[in-house]
């Protein structure tokens, strides 16, 4: 069971990375290279920036997917750790 949740967490991680890159592509030209680097270092900044500018840069769908995989990765990581520890 732990393995399944671990794989699901990994799938969410891949989804998260793809969404992060898609938002960074919009963030870099809009905010400049320094904030772009901040976006790479701090995923939370990119996530908040993405929602703040979702309509301006047509990012709403990407942000909705990112939010789902973001929550999924936390939940599946927690479940994976729980089942791995209990087995």
């Amino acid at each position: 069971m732990g393995m399944i949740f671990s794989l699901l967490a990994m799938a969410c991680g891949i989804g998260s990375l793809i969404c992060l890159i898609l938002v960074l592509i919009k963030l870099f030209p809009a905010e400049g290279p320094v904030k772009g680097v901040l976006g790479i270092i701090c995923g939370i900044y990119t996530f908040v920036w993405g929602w703040q500018n979702a309509d301006r840069f047509n990012l709403r769908q990407i942000m909705q997917i990112w939010t789902v995989v973001f929550i999924g990765s936390i939940v599946f990581n927690f479940l994976s750790a729980y089942f791995m520890a209990s087995s």
């Binding site: 991680g13 990375l17 320094v34 995923g43 703040q52 990765s73 936390i74």
Partner: protein, 148 residues
């Protein structure tokens, strides 16, 4: 591209000034630090999850938690930028609570410091170099950051 303008552009001052952004950033950072402090999995780094390699910011949350617990040595071993990260997070978060006049003074002071010295860009460059050095010369220190 005018690199001097790019490197001296006030970034932290803009983050403090963005009142709509600060509470969200502060809230997310507080939740992430809280989850890690409770021993629960926080938001895992997407790069680490997919590639197994640490990103430049990997270890910062755990280092910040160690710092808040007064474990300086652990914090600095996990990530040397933890004190700066924590100070900036607190500054951005707390500035939201300041009265308008004091906030404006703070924003002006930070903007002047950034545009005169290029401090933020310099810090970012050192931050990336620190990550590269750890990645190439001390891979074991970054491998220790892996959750599993």
């Amino acid at each position: 591209m005018n690199w001097k303008a790019v490197l001296t552009k006030p970034v932290i001052a803009e983050l403090i000034d963005a009142r709509h952004l600060a509470p969200w950033l502060g809230g997310f950072a507080a939740v992430q630090i809280g989850l890690i402090a409770l021993g629960l999995p926080g938001w895992p780094c997407p790069l680490m999850t997919v590639t197994g390699h640490a990103c430049p910011g990997c270890g910062l949350t755990r280092a910040a938690v160690a710092l808040l617990r007064g474990q300086w040595q652990t914090a600095l071993t996990l990530h040397a930028f933890a004190p700066i990260f924590l100070a900036l997070s607190l500054a951005i978060g707390l500035s939201w609570l300041l009265p308008k006049a004091h906030r404006s003074q703070l924003i002006d002071a930070v903007a002047k410091l950034e545009s005169r010295t290029g401090l933020t860009a310099i810090l970012f460059i050192i931050f990336l170099l620190y990550w590269l050095i750890r990645l190439l010369a001390f891979p074991a220190s970054l491998a220790a950051l892996t959750y599993r």
